[in-house]
Subunit: 581 residues, 2 copies
């Protein structure tokens, strides 16, 4: 393609966006922001996303069949699974004006995911044990009512995604497939050039199972997730599920002091409180009162400096959902206004869950359960009974260890590039979808879902692969295989030579972006090539004489080569990009 | 692909839908209806739509650059062009529930077309005369709030479409491109196997121009459009714009009779009235009172049996929009309740537009402009002055002629497969998008838009190409190139032989659907092959011995061939499908 004819050239005065990928993609002419969270893929960007999706497709074809479901889906399907009223990223469509309303006033869901479509679809076709297992996938635009969209392609309201759904007649068969999917996913990330930094991370399996789901996290300085690595077991955990033990506190008093209630009106946050009481934060205690889906009230406490992990708390409480309770109930339980809740003198009938980080401290602080008062120098065994059991109900942070292995976690920033999720029978039961087994009996169907955000990956690749000059695409997804620059183009001989090189490369089925502009300086052309980030840069100029200058993006070395040699180099690189079978 | 493993096999007891394409596509396992107007493309269907779109893409690449715009777009862009409040197929998105509303309450347009995105996009990048002309296209899902969705893939609420937009610095340059686009479109339809039945038809250019737009109409018995062909000028007109002259009336009275007012209370429709008055319908007159966008009231009349063509009326009146006026104004103008309006004794200041079909009649009927009364035996020159000019303001129908050429139209049913539309400066002016010319001055930008509904075409291909047994795909879009049937599969030798044939074909890069089912009868396999409609059917069985049975879908003849010969046949067919350069 001739760069002079390309729509969407590099933008000199493009601004800095909130992420590297947005800044470089917009400046490089790959995408255009239509509004916060929606983008147009320009010609260069579309070529990249197509290559990413083709790699995903080739790998998914080994474990599933491609279909294409609509984005507009009936509300009733979402009511069936209870998600219409609860999913907070769900959008629906409605007529835009009175004329549209007069014509058709029905509303539809604009799908953020497709369990509600694929499950009834499978049900229409496949009921006999003979046809299991099977898996269906699609690559398609998804819609999410995100409150804050940010980080360019990393979090959008409309984005590209591959979603795959598998169906099985037994849990064992499902699990076998689930393990296989991990291998296929890693193969995708390898081919996309992010495999060596991508790790499988345990994450929450959702409210209907104690099992983990699995995230594929690419370790990346600018990542928005935090993951915890236990070297002993070679296991990565997402922050939301990492089991953790707090480090011992630094300044342990040797002498047990008399308990005291201190007036501290309006002093509520642990940082502020520690300052006020002149004690380390780690001696404070955070006590919160929750209400479960069964309306049971429970008390949870963690050491100051930690947050309560509601996912962990939900599991130890044994409920499906919980939320912070109302100020009225806090008062009823503690006898105090909100902000002064603590562990002392709680009603006997209330269940109390105390994190392990709260124990092993002398002379600690806890809310006095008296409005405006905080108790200090509190000690288990003297001021309140030592609980029979301490729990792990806090969010992990740097410095924590795995309570089982005692190994101190290595902590990384990372970006999620895919996830796989055991759904078990949640959706098949919701649609009453069973199979008929050999014995003629109806039995439950096990299901998994498997996502990869292809546009998100395009952003993450850039977060990983760039330098001060621009993008450094992995060869497998670069918009073209070669960036050919003609210099001294006003010289007819040179111009004719470089056009000839362009023709030869095209005839060899090499994808070439040819910067054929006459009026642009060499410096500008080199800067554009660095920004666009195609793996191989070729230059033809008066200086290169009968040869061609060859340089790889990200390396400084240039070499003069015969065109033949260039072609053979590029061809051998291309052949490495094909699917390994 | 092994048919035994395919998700979405043929359905024996599938019902008849409202169209041939829906019936055959659903029965054949190509698509599944999610709800009225939205479909899932199953594996077979997705392969077809991909092939259709790849052909479109290859041809569009010769005149434009592919990009991909989002479906979610900002409302403000649509307010800019005045289409947010007026387009009756426009949908917007809104949060689906209270949790979603709490997170982000913004609404967005779900785009049915992309002028409101592509125009500001072009404006961001291209302002200098040097970069014109250029054209951008995309292939993408579109959303329309259709009141009645029907005819399978022909009219959906979510559908696949290619839309291209071109930008020019002069009207001449735009027109040159517009003509070129017609050739490219015809090339697309030729490659899709519907070229020889597809004609370019004049259609309305919209309210902002007197120019025509152009529709590509595929002549087809089940088509929902009517087109009018004037053989003399070799021109096709869409019903909405066909200039037309009514045939002379059959029973012309020779004797002029005395005018009479007849009481006919509540008799309003022309059919009912003709019966009541015992006169042919063609002697009645339909008189309607309109109001223009400038609030001017005008009277329009056509011969009974015709409808007023508001598009034509708007043009002769010289207004931008018009609608039927209120009963109050009808009464003010005619002195009568609605239903009795006629041409007699109208106020002098009201403009009256009489269609030519009203003239050349003796003793005709018209409303008496007196409630409950109809005047009969009315004659121009005696009861009312003969108008200086008769107009053409009626919808064409079978039997009409072209008033200019006097040629009687040939009338066809047809289905629209594409349209191209001169937009001139309508959208560029709305966004204040101008270019800077060589002389440094800002000048207007001319624009065209060019659509092809790819999913719609998939439906129309079937409406054209099927028989009682199923679909007959053109080779270029068939889901596979070969449908291989193994019979006597329980015989190990045969089974091994047919699997070997399958392997050889695949190695030769031939796309094969292999019906490898053991438990299914020969009859059922043949019926499925006919339903699915792949161009080449191969059979391997005990009877075929060392050869392979070859049959083309839609032909009865079968031949026994060497596999080598089959491969060379198929290969030569495939090579004919490539783009002609």
């Amino acid at each position: 393609m001739l760069y002079s004819k390309l729509f969407g050239k590099t933008k000199k005065n493009s601004k800095q966006y909130d992420s590297i990928n947005a800044t470089l993609l917009i400046k490089g002419g790959f995408i255009d922001q239509v509004m916060a969270g929606t983008y147009t893929y320009l010609t260069l960007g579309l070529r990249v996303i197509n290559k990413i999706e083709q790699i995903i497709r080739e790998e998914m074809d080994t474990i599933g069949q491609e279909i294409l479901m609509p984005a507009l889906t009936p509300i009733v399907n979402w009511q069936h699974t209870g998600r219409f009223e609860t999913v907070d990223v769900l959008m629906k469509t409605t007529p835009a004006n009175i004329f549209a309303k007069a014509k058709n006033d029905t509303e539809y869901v604009l799908s953020p995911t497709h369990e509600e479509v694929v499950t009834p679809l499978a049900q229409k076709f496949i009921l006999s044990y003979k046809d299991f297992p099977f898996a269906l996938y699609q690559i398609q635009n998804k819609f999410r009512n995100e409150p804050r969209v940010k980080s360019g392609l990393l979090r959008g309201r409309e984005f590209r995604m591959k979603d795959l759904y598998s169906f099985h007649t037994s849990e064992e068969d499902f699990k076998k497939y689930y393990e296989k999917s991990k291998e296929v996913y890693m193969q995708v990330f390898n081919r996309l050039g992010i495999g060596k930094d991508t790790v499988i991370t345990l994450a929450s399996g959702g409210s209907f199972t104690d099992d983990y789901s699995h995230e594929f996290q690419t370790i990346c300085e600018t990542g928005e997730d935090t993951i915890f690595y236990d070297k002993k077991t070679n296991t990565y955990y997402n922050k939301e599920v990492a089991p953790n033990q707090a480090p011992e506190i630094k300044y342990q008093d040797e002498k047990i002091l008399p308990k005291k209630d201190v007036l501290g009106k309006g002093i509520i946050g642990v940082e502020e409180l520690a300052k006020f009481l002149k004690i380390p934060v780690e001696k404070t205690t955070k006590t919160l009162i929750y209400e479960t889906d069964k309306k049971e009230v429970v008390v949870a406490a963690v050491r100051g400096g930690y947050d309560i992990n509601e996912n962990k708390l939900r599991k130890v409480v044994g409920c499906k959902a919980l939320k912070l309770t109302s100020p009225e109930i806090v008062k009823k339980v503690t006898g105090a206004e909100i902000g002064y809740a603590g562990l002392l003198n709680l009603p006997k009938n209330i269940k109390v869950f105390i994190d392990e980080s709260v124990g092993n401290r002398h002379n600690f602080e806890t809310g006095a359960n008296k409005t405006h008062y905080h108790s200090i120098n509190v000690n288990f065994g003297r001021d309140l009974p030592k609980p029979k059991k301490f729990y792990d109900i806090k969010v992990a942070k740097e410095g924590d260890s795995n309570p089982k292995t005692k190994e101190k976690y290595q902590v990384y920033r990372a970006s999620e590039v895919g996830n796989i999720f055991p759904l078990y029978t949640k959706f098949t039961e919701a649609f009453n979808y069973h199979f008929v087994d050999q014995d003629g009996k109806e039995k439950p169907i096990y299901m998994g879902c498997y996502g990869i955000g292809s546009s998100r990956i395009m952003g993450i690749i850039i977060e990983k692969h760039h330098d001060n000059h621009g993008i450094i695409w992995p060869e497998s997804v670069a918009p073209f295989q070669v960036h050919l620059i003609g210099l001294d183009m006003k010289d007819k001989n040179i111009s004719s030579k470089v056009h000839q090189v362009y023709q030869v490369l095209k005839e060899k089925n090499i994808e070439v972006l040819f910067d054929d502009r006459e009026e642009v300086s060499a410096g500008e052309k080199f800067a554009d090539a660095d920004l666009i980030g195609i793996s191989v840069r070729l230059v033809v100029s008066i200086r290169t004489k009968e040869k061609v200058e060859y340089k790889r993006r990200g390396e400084n070395k240039t070499s003069l080569m015969e065109l033949k040699e260039v072609i053979s180099n590029v061809k051998s690189q291309i052949s490495n990009l094909h699917r390994k079978t």
